[in-house]
Protein backbone atom coordinates (compact mmCIF):
# COMPACT_ATOMS: atom_id res chain seq x y z
CA UNK A 1 0.00 0.00 0.00
CA UNK A 2 2.57 2.47 -1.17
CA UNK A 3 0.18 5.34 -1.63
CA UNK A 4 -0.86 5.16 2.02
CA UNK A 5 2.76 4.99 3.20
CA UNK A 6 3.65 7.98 1.06
CA UNK A 7 0.65 9.89 2.38
CA UNK A 8 1.59 9.13 5.98
CA UNK A 9 5.17 10.23 5.36
CA UNK A 10 4.00 13.43 3.75
CA UNK A 11 1.60 14.22 6.60
CA UNK A 12 4.31 13.63 9.17
CA UNK A 13 7.13 15.41 7.38
CA UNK A 14 4.96 18.40 6.57
CA UNK A 15 3.95 18.45 10.25
CA UNK A 16 0.30 18.38 9.20
CA UNK A 17 -0.22 15.77 11.91
CA UNK A 18 1.86 14.35 14.76
CA UNK A 19 0.70 10.77 14.53
CA UNK A 20 -0.93 8.60 11.91
CA UNK A 21 -3.06 5.82 13.36
CA UNK A 22 -3.12 3.03 10.84
CA UNK A 23 -2.82 -0.71 10.52
CA UNK A 24 0.25 -2.90 10.56
CA UNK A 25 0.62 -6.62 10.11
CA UNK A 26 -0.86 -8.49 13.04
CA UNK A 27 0.21 -11.79 14.55
CA UNK A 28 -3.22 -13.34 14.09
CA UNK A 29 -6.28 -13.10 11.93
CA UNK A 30 -6.49 -9.33 12.00
CA UNK A 31 -4.16 -6.42 11.44
CA UNK A 32 -3.11 -4.43 14.48
CA UNK A 33 -3.18 -0.73 15.17
CA UNK A 34 0.08 1.12 14.62
CA UNK A 35 0.87 4.61 15.79
CA UNK A 36 3.19 6.10 13.23
CA UNK A 37 5.20 9.04 14.50
CA UNK A 38 8.52 8.53 12.68
CA UNK A 39 8.89 8.49 8.93
CA UNK A 40 10.62 5.10 8.94
CA UNK A 41 7.77 3.51 10.84
CA UNK A 42 5.36 4.39 8.06
CA UNK A 43 6.72 1.47 6.07
CA UNK A 44 4.94 -0.82 8.51
CA UNK A 45 1.56 0.34 7.28
CA UNK A 46 -0.73 -2.01 5.42
CA UNK A 47 -4.27 -1.90 4.25
CA UNK A 48 -6.20 -5.02 3.29
CA UNK A 49 -9.14 -7.16 4.32
CA UNK A 50 -7.56 -7.93 7.71
CA UNK A 51 -7.73 -4.24 8.66
CA UNK A 52 -11.01 -4.39 10.49
CA UNK A 53 -10.55 -2.86 13.94
CA UNK A 54 -12.36 0.44 14.37
CA UNK A 55 -9.44 2.76 15.06
CA UNK A 56 -11.72 5.55 16.27
CA UNK A 57 -11.42 3.84 19.68
CA UNK A 58 -7.99 5.42 20.05
CA UNK A 59 -9.10 8.98 19.44
CA UNK A 60 -10.32 9.07 23.04
CA UNK A 61 -7.38 7.28 24.62
CA UNK A 62 -5.42 9.46 27.00
CA UNK A 63 -1.94 8.55 25.80
CA UNK A 64 -2.88 8.83 22.13
CA UNK A 65 -4.55 12.20 22.59
CA UNK A 66 -1.32 13.49 24.05
CA UNK A 67 0.67 12.59 20.96
CA UNK A 68 -0.77 15.63 19.20
CA UNK A 69 -2.81 16.01 16.07
CA UNK A 70 -4.11 12.74 14.70
CA UNK A 71 -4.59 11.33 11.23
CA UNK A 72 -6.58 8.12 11.25
CA UNK A 73 -7.01 5.46 8.61
CA UNK A 74 -10.73 5.02 8.32
CA UNK A 75 -13.43 2.87 6.85
CA UNK A 76 -17.09 3.84 6.83
CA UNK A 77 -17.62 2.58 10.37
CA UNK A 78 -14.68 4.62 11.63
CA UNK A 79 -16.02 7.71 9.91
CA UNK A 80 -19.42 7.26 11.48
CA UNK A 81 -17.87 6.70 14.91
CA UNK A 82 -15.94 9.92 14.48
CA UNK A 83 -19.13 11.80 13.70
CA UNK A 84 -20.88 10.37 16.75
CA UNK A 85 -17.93 11.40 18.90
CA UNK A 86 -18.01 14.84 17.32
CA UNK A 87 -21.74 15.16 17.90
CA UNK A 88 -21.06 14.39 21.56
CA UNK A 89 -18.37 17.07 21.66
CA UNK A 90 -15.54 14.64 22.27
CA UNK A 91 -13.26 16.42 19.85
CA UNK A 92 -13.53 19.46 17.67
CA UNK A 93 -13.32 19.83 13.95
CA UNK A 94 -9.76 19.90 12.71
CA UNK A 95 -8.31 17.79 15.56
CA UNK A 96 -8.61 14.57 13.61
CA UNK A 97 -7.83 14.04 9.97
CA UNK A 98 -9.59 11.02 8.53
CA UNK A 99 -7.87 9.09 5.76
CA UNK A 100 -10.71 7.21 4.15
CA UNK A 101 -9.71 4.35 1.90
CA UNK A 102 -12.11 3.62 -0.93
CA UNK A 103 -12.95 0.10 -2.07
CA UNK A 104 -10.63 0.81 -5.00
CA UNK A 105 -7.82 1.51 -2.52
CA UNK A 106 -7.74 5.23 -3.17
CA UNK A 107 -7.05 7.52 -0.24
CA UNK A 108 -9.41 10.38 0.39
CA UNK A 109 -8.44 12.98 2.96
CA UNK A 110 -11.36 14.12 5.06
CA UNK A 111 -10.18 17.00 7.21
CA UNK A 112 -13.59 18.38 8.19
CA UNK A 113 -16.98 17.04 9.14
CA UNK A 114 -18.62 18.14 5.93
CA UNK A 115 -16.41 15.98 3.78
CA UNK A 116 -17.17 12.98 5.97
CA UNK A 117 -20.90 13.71 5.94
CA UNK A 118 -20.94 14.18 2.17
CA UNK A 119 -19.16 10.92 1.69
CA UNK A 120 -21.39 8.96 4.05
CA UNK A 121 -24.48 10.26 2.30
CA UNK A 122 -23.35 8.37 -0.79
CA UNK A 123 -22.75 4.98 0.79
CA UNK A 124 -25.10 2.27 1.94
CA UNK A 125 -24.89 2.30 5.72
CA UNK A 126 -27.88 0.07 6.45
CA UNK A 127 -27.74 -3.39 7.96
CA UNK A 128 -26.30 -5.94 5.56
CA UNK A 129 -28.60 -8.78 4.39
CA UNK A 130 -26.76 -11.36 6.51
CA UNK A 131 -27.06 -9.14 9.56
CA UNK A 132 -30.78 -8.70 8.97
CA UNK A 133 -31.15 -12.41 8.44
CA UNK A 134 -29.69 -13.33 11.83
CA UNK A 135 -31.82 -10.73 13.63
CA UNK A 136 -34.89 -12.16 11.93
CA UNK A 137 -33.91 -15.66 12.93
CA UNK A 138 -33.73 -14.73 16.59
CA UNK A 139 -36.90 -12.69 16.43
CA UNK A 140 -38.74 -15.72 15.07
CA UNK A 141 -37.85 -17.77 18.13
CA UNK A 142 -40.31 -17.98 21.02
CA UNK A 143 -39.58 -15.86 24.07
CA UNK A 144 -38.47 -18.94 25.94
CA UNK A 145 -36.09 -19.94 23.18
CA UNK A 146 -34.63 -16.47 23.02
CA UNK A 147 -34.20 -16.48 26.80
CA UNK A 148 -32.34 -19.77 26.65
CA UNK A 149 -30.23 -18.60 23.74
CA UNK A 150 -29.08 -15.45 25.53
CA UNK A 151 -28.70 -17.06 28.94
CA UNK A 152 -26.32 -19.59 27.39
CA UNK A 153 -24.37 -16.82 25.71
CA UNK A 154 -24.28 -14.55 28.76
CA UNK A 155 -23.17 -17.43 30.99
CA UNK A 156 -19.87 -17.44 29.12
CA UNK A 157 -19.15 -13.83 30.04
CA UNK A 158 -16.47 -13.22 32.68
CA UNK A 159 -16.74 -9.43 32.54
CA UNK A 160 -13.38 -8.62 31.02
CA UNK A 161 -15.14 -5.64 29.46
CA UNK A 162 -13.38 -6.12 26.13
CA UNK A 163 -16.72 -5.19 24.54
CA UNK A 164 -16.65 -1.89 26.35
CA UNK A 165 -12.98 -1.16 25.85
CA UNK A 166 -13.02 -1.91 22.14
CA UNK A 167 -16.03 0.31 21.49
CA UNK A 168 -15.15 3.79 20.24
CA UNK A 169 -18.31 5.13 21.81
CA UNK A 170 -17.77 3.67 25.29
CA UNK A 171 -15.53 6.44 26.48
CA UNK A 172 -16.93 7.24 29.94
CA UNK A 173 -14.12 7.44 32.48
CA UNK A 174 -16.49 5.94 35.01
CA UNK A 175 -18.86 3.44 33.48
CA UNK A 176 -22.32 2.85 34.95
CA UNK A 177 -21.15 -0.62 35.91
CA UNK A 178 -18.60 1.03 38.17
CA UNK A 179 -20.99 3.39 39.91
CA UNK A 180 -21.44 1.84 43.28
CA UNK A 181 -23.60 4.16 45.37
CA UNK A 182 -25.78 2.20 45.06
CA UNK A 183 -24.22 -0.69 43.19
CA UNK A 184 -26.17 -0.47 39.95
CA UNK A 185 -25.07 -3.60 38.14
CA UNK A 186 -23.75 -6.54 40.22
CA UNK A 187 -19.96 -6.62 40.08
CA UNK A 188 -19.89 -10.40 39.89
CA UNK A 189 -19.93 -12.10 36.50
CA UNK A 190 -23.02 -13.93 37.69
CA UNK A 191 -25.99 -14.82 35.53
CA UNK A 192 -27.82 -11.71 36.63
CA UNK A 193 -24.76 -9.47 36.55
CA UNK A 194 -23.91 -10.52 33.02
CA UNK A 195 -27.43 -10.12 31.70
CA UNK A 196 -27.89 -6.71 33.25
CA UNK A 197 -24.50 -5.59 32.02
CA UNK A 198 -25.08 -6.60 28.41
CA UNK A 199 -28.59 -5.19 28.23
CA UNK A 200 -27.49 -1.93 29.77
CA UNK A 201 -24.45 -1.67 27.56
CA UNK A 202 -26.63 -2.11 24.50
CA UNK A 203 -29.13 0.44 25.81
CA UNK A 204 -26.39 2.98 26.38
CA UNK A 205 -25.42 2.54 22.74
CA UNK A 206 -28.96 2.84 21.45
CA UNK A 207 -29.06 5.46 18.76
CA UNK A 208 -25.28 5.82 18.95
CA UNK A 209 -23.98 2.45 17.77
CA UNK A 210 -22.65 2.53 14.21
CA UNK A 211 -22.56 -1.25 13.89
CA UNK A 212 -18.81 -1.73 13.46
CA UNK A 213 -19.03 -5.07 15.26
CA UNK A 214 -15.86 -4.59 17.31
CA UNK A 215 -17.61 -5.60 20.54
CA UNK A 216 -18.34 -9.07 19.23
CA UNK A 217 -14.93 -9.44 17.61
CA UNK A 218 -13.23 -8.34 20.82
CA UNK A 219 -15.09 -10.84 23.00
CA UNK A 220 -12.69 -13.63 23.92
CA UNK A 221 -15.63 -15.91 24.63
CA UNK A 222 -17.26 -15.18 21.26
CA UNK A 223 -20.54 -13.88 22.59
CA UNK A 224 -22.42 -12.41 19.60
CA UNK A 225 -22.93 -9.05 21.28
CA UNK A 226 -23.43 -7.24 18.02
CA UNK A 227 -26.80 -8.99 17.65
CA UNK A 228 -28.15 -6.83 20.44
CA UNK A 229 -27.05 -3.70 18.68
CA UNK A 230 -28.25 -4.93 15.27
CA UNK A 231 -31.64 -5.22 16.84
CA UNK A 232 -31.44 -1.70 18.21
CA UNK A 233 -30.26 -0.26 14.92
CA UNK A 234 -33.04 -2.00 13.05
CA UNK A 235 -35.69 -0.78 15.48
CA UNK A 236 -34.43 2.77 15.61
CA UNK A 237 -34.35 3.06 11.87
CA UNK A 238 -37.85 1.63 11.58
CA UNK A 239 -39.43 3.60 14.41
CA UNK A 240 -37.62 6.91 14.16
CA UNK A 241 -35.97 6.89 10.76
CA UNK A 242 -32.70 7.67 12.48
CA UNK A 243 -29.19 6.43 11.83
CA UNK A 244 -26.23 7.22 14.05
CA UNK A 245 -23.10 8.96 12.85
CA UNK A 246 -24.36 10.51 9.66
CA UNK A 247 -24.04 14.14 10.75
CA UNK A 248 -21.76 15.81 13.27
CA UNK A 249 -24.66 17.91 14.47
CA UNK A 250 -27.04 14.99 15.00
CA UNK A 251 -28.64 14.55 18.36
CA UNK A 252 -28.75 10.91 19.41
CA UNK A 253 -32.13 9.21 19.18
CA UNK A 254 -32.56 8.90 22.92
CA UNK A 255 -31.69 12.51 23.61
CA UNK A 256 -34.58 13.83 21.60
CA UNK A 257 -38.19 12.99 20.69
CA UNK A 258 -41.00 13.79 18.33
CA UNK A 259 -44.48 14.49 19.68
CA UNK A 260 -45.84 12.07 17.09
CA UNK A 261 -43.59 9.08 17.84
CA UNK A 262 -45.76 6.08 17.04
CA UNK A 263 -46.05 3.05 19.30
CA UNK A 264 -48.78 0.53 19.87
CA UNK A 265 -48.18 -0.73 23.38
CA UNK A 266 -48.88 2.17 25.72
CA UNK A 267 -52.49 1.91 26.77
Amino acid sequence: MNELIAKAKYLLSSKTVDVVIGYGKGSGKYARAEFIRKLDDADKMIYNETCIQNLATYVQKHEVKHLGKIAIVANNYTLRSLLVLASEFQFTEGQVLALYITPENKIVEMPDFKSIEDHLATVDTGLKPDEKEIVDRIEKMTVAERWDFWQKEFAKCFKCFACRSSCPLCYCTKCMTESNQPQWIPVAASDLGNMEWHIMRAMHLAGRCVNCGDCARACPMDIPLNLLTYNLIEGIEKDFGAKAGMKATDISTLSTFKPDDKENFIK
Binding site: I138, R146, D148, F149, A155, H198, M203, G235, F265
Partner: protein, 151 residues
Protein backbone atom coordinates in the same frame (compact mmCIF):
# COMPACT_ATOMS: atom_id res chain seq x y z
CA UNK B 1 -52.87 -24.83 46.99
CA UNK B 2 -53.49 -21.14 47.37
CA UNK B 3 -53.87 -19.19 44.17
CA UNK B 4 -50.75 -17.46 42.95
CA UNK B 5 -50.75 -13.80 43.95
CA UNK B 6 -48.51 -11.90 41.58
CA UNK B 7 -46.21 -9.22 42.91
CA UNK B 8 -46.55 -6.09 40.82
CA UNK B 9 -44.34 -3.02 41.00
CA UNK B 10 -45.71 0.20 39.57
CA UNK B 11 -43.40 3.00 38.51
CA UNK B 12 -45.54 6.11 38.24
CA UNK B 13 -45.07 9.82 37.86
CA UNK B 14 -45.92 12.16 40.68
CA UNK B 15 -48.14 14.54 38.79
CA UNK B 16 -50.59 12.34 36.90
CA UNK B 17 -50.69 8.68 37.73
CA UNK B 18 -49.80 9.01 41.38
CA UNK B 19 -52.51 11.61 41.77
CA UNK B 20 -54.79 9.35 39.74
CA UNK B 21 -54.09 6.45 42.07
CA UNK B 22 -54.81 8.76 44.96
CA UNK B 23 -58.14 9.59 43.39
CA UNK B 24 -58.89 5.89 43.06
CA UNK B 25 -58.51 5.64 46.79
CA UNK B 26 -60.46 8.74 47.71
CA UNK B 27 -63.21 7.62 45.31
CA UNK B 28 -63.27 4.37 47.31
CA UNK B 29 -62.78 2.26 44.21
CA UNK B 30 -61.48 -1.16 45.14
CA UNK B 31 -58.63 -2.69 43.20
CA UNK B 32 -56.15 -5.52 43.50
CA UNK B 33 -53.76 -5.14 46.42
CA UNK B 34 -50.86 -6.77 44.59
CA UNK B 35 -49.28 -3.56 43.51
CA UNK B 36 -46.47 -1.62 45.17
CA UNK B 37 -46.32 1.94 43.88
CA UNK B 38 -43.02 3.76 43.45
CA UNK B 39 -43.40 7.46 42.82
CA UNK B 40 -41.12 9.39 40.48
CA UNK B 41 -41.01 13.06 39.67
CA UNK B 42 -41.70 12.22 36.03
CA UNK B 43 -41.79 9.21 33.74
CA UNK B 44 -38.70 10.69 32.12
CA UNK B 45 -36.90 9.99 35.38
CA UNK B 46 -37.69 6.26 35.36
CA UNK B 47 -34.44 4.61 34.42
CA UNK B 48 -35.00 1.54 32.28
CA UNK B 49 -32.68 -0.38 34.58
CA UNK B 50 -35.22 -0.07 37.38
CA UNK B 51 -37.59 -2.32 35.48
CA UNK B 52 -34.98 -5.06 35.40
CA UNK B 53 -34.18 -4.40 39.05
CA UNK B 54 -37.83 -4.97 39.92
CA UNK B 55 -37.79 -8.36 38.21
CA UNK B 56 -34.50 -9.24 39.88
CA UNK B 57 -36.01 -8.45 43.25
CA UNK B 58 -38.96 -10.72 42.80
CA UNK B 59 -41.59 -8.78 40.84
CA UNK B 60 -43.77 -10.89 38.56
CA UNK B 61 -45.15 -7.93 36.68
CA UNK B 62 -44.51 -4.24 36.23
CA UNK B 63 -46.71 -1.23 35.55
CA UNK B 64 -45.17 1.93 34.15
CA UNK B 65 -47.45 4.90 33.95
CA UNK B 66 -47.42 8.66 33.66
CA UNK B 67 -49.10 11.69 32.15
CA UNK B 68 -50.73 11.49 28.77
CA UNK B 69 -48.67 12.93 25.91
CA UNK B 70 -48.77 16.74 25.94
CA UNK B 71 -49.77 16.72 29.62
CA UNK B 72 -46.34 16.36 31.17
CA UNK B 73 -45.68 18.62 34.12
CA UNK B 74 -42.21 19.16 32.72
CA UNK B 75 -43.52 19.57 29.15
CA UNK B 76 -41.45 16.85 27.47
CA UNK B 77 -40.57 14.23 30.08
CA UNK B 78 -43.09 11.66 28.91
CA UNK B 79 -42.08 12.10 25.26
CA UNK B 80 -38.51 11.20 26.17
CA UNK B 81 -39.79 8.31 28.26
CA UNK B 82 -41.91 7.03 25.38
CA UNK B 83 -38.92 6.83 23.05
CA UNK B 84 -36.88 5.10 25.68
CA UNK B 85 -39.58 2.52 26.33
CA UNK B 86 -40.03 1.84 22.63
CA UNK B 87 -36.36 1.00 22.28
CA UNK B 88 -36.00 -0.76 25.58
CA UNK B 89 -39.10 -2.89 25.13
CA UNK B 90 -37.85 -4.15 21.80
CA UNK B 91 -34.40 -4.84 23.19
CA UNK B 92 -35.49 -6.86 26.20
CA UNK B 93 -37.97 -8.74 24.05
CA UNK B 94 -35.04 -9.62 21.81
CA UNK B 95 -33.07 -10.72 24.86
CA UNK B 96 -35.87 -13.09 25.83
CA UNK B 97 -37.47 -11.15 28.66
CA UNK B 98 -41.25 -11.55 28.74
CA UNK B 99 -42.61 -8.12 27.81
CA UNK B 100 -46.18 -9.25 28.45
CA UNK B 101 -45.34 -8.77 32.10
CA UNK B 102 -44.76 -5.05 31.65
CA UNK B 103 -47.75 -2.82 31.14
CA UNK B 104 -47.16 0.72 29.88
CA UNK B 105 -49.95 3.22 30.41
CA UNK B 106 -50.93 6.83 30.48
CA UNK B 107 -53.17 7.53 33.47
CA UNK B 108 -54.04 11.12 34.30
CA UNK B 109 -54.85 12.62 37.67
CA UNK B 110 -58.54 12.54 36.80
CA UNK B 111 -58.61 8.85 35.82
CA UNK B 112 -59.04 7.18 39.18
CA UNK B 113 -61.25 4.47 37.79
CA UNK B 114 -58.83 3.84 34.97
CA UNK B 115 -55.99 3.27 37.40
CA UNK B 116 -58.02 0.58 39.12
CA UNK B 117 -58.67 -1.00 35.76
CA UNK B 118 -54.98 -0.87 34.77
CA UNK B 119 -53.98 -2.57 37.99
CA UNK B 120 -56.71 -5.18 37.81
CA UNK B 121 -55.97 -6.06 34.20
CA UNK B 122 -52.23 -6.29 34.83
CA UNK B 123 -52.75 -8.47 37.88
CA UNK B 124 -54.98 -10.80 35.88
CA UNK B 125 -52.58 -10.96 32.94
CA UNK B 126 -49.65 -11.73 35.21
CA UNK B 127 -51.68 -14.18 37.24
CA UNK B 128 -52.27 -16.13 34.05
CA UNK B 129 -48.60 -15.96 33.16
CA UNK B 130 -47.65 -17.31 36.58
CA UNK B 131 -44.64 -16.40 38.71
CA UNK B 132 -41.64 -15.16 36.72
CA UNK B 133 -39.56 -18.19 37.61
CA UNK B 134 -36.97 -17.79 34.84
CA UNK B 135 -35.90 -14.42 36.02
CA UNK B 136 -35.97 -15.31 39.69
CA UNK B 137 -33.74 -18.29 39.06
CA UNK B 138 -31.19 -16.14 37.32
CA UNK B 139 -31.32 -13.49 40.03
CA UNK B 140 -30.86 -15.97 42.85
CA UNK B 141 -28.43 -18.35 41.17
CA UNK B 142 -25.48 -16.65 42.82
CA UNK B 143 -26.71 -17.55 46.33
CA UNK B 144 -28.20 -20.93 45.64
CA UNK B 145 -25.24 -23.14 45.31
CA UNK B 146 -21.96 -23.35 47.08
CA UNK B 147 -20.21 -24.35 43.92
CA UNK B 148 -21.02 -23.20 40.43
CA UNK B 149 -17.69 -23.71 38.76
CA UNK B 150 -17.79 -24.96 35.19
CA UNK B 151 -21.44 -25.25 34.51
Amino acid sequence: MAEFEPKIVAFVCNWCTYAGADLTGTSRIKYAANVKIIRFPCTGRIDFMLLLKAFANGADGIIVSGCHPNDCHYTYGNFHARRRWMIFRKLIDFAGIDINRISFNWVSAAEGARWAEVVNTTVETVRKLGPYENYKQVALSIYDQEDKTHE
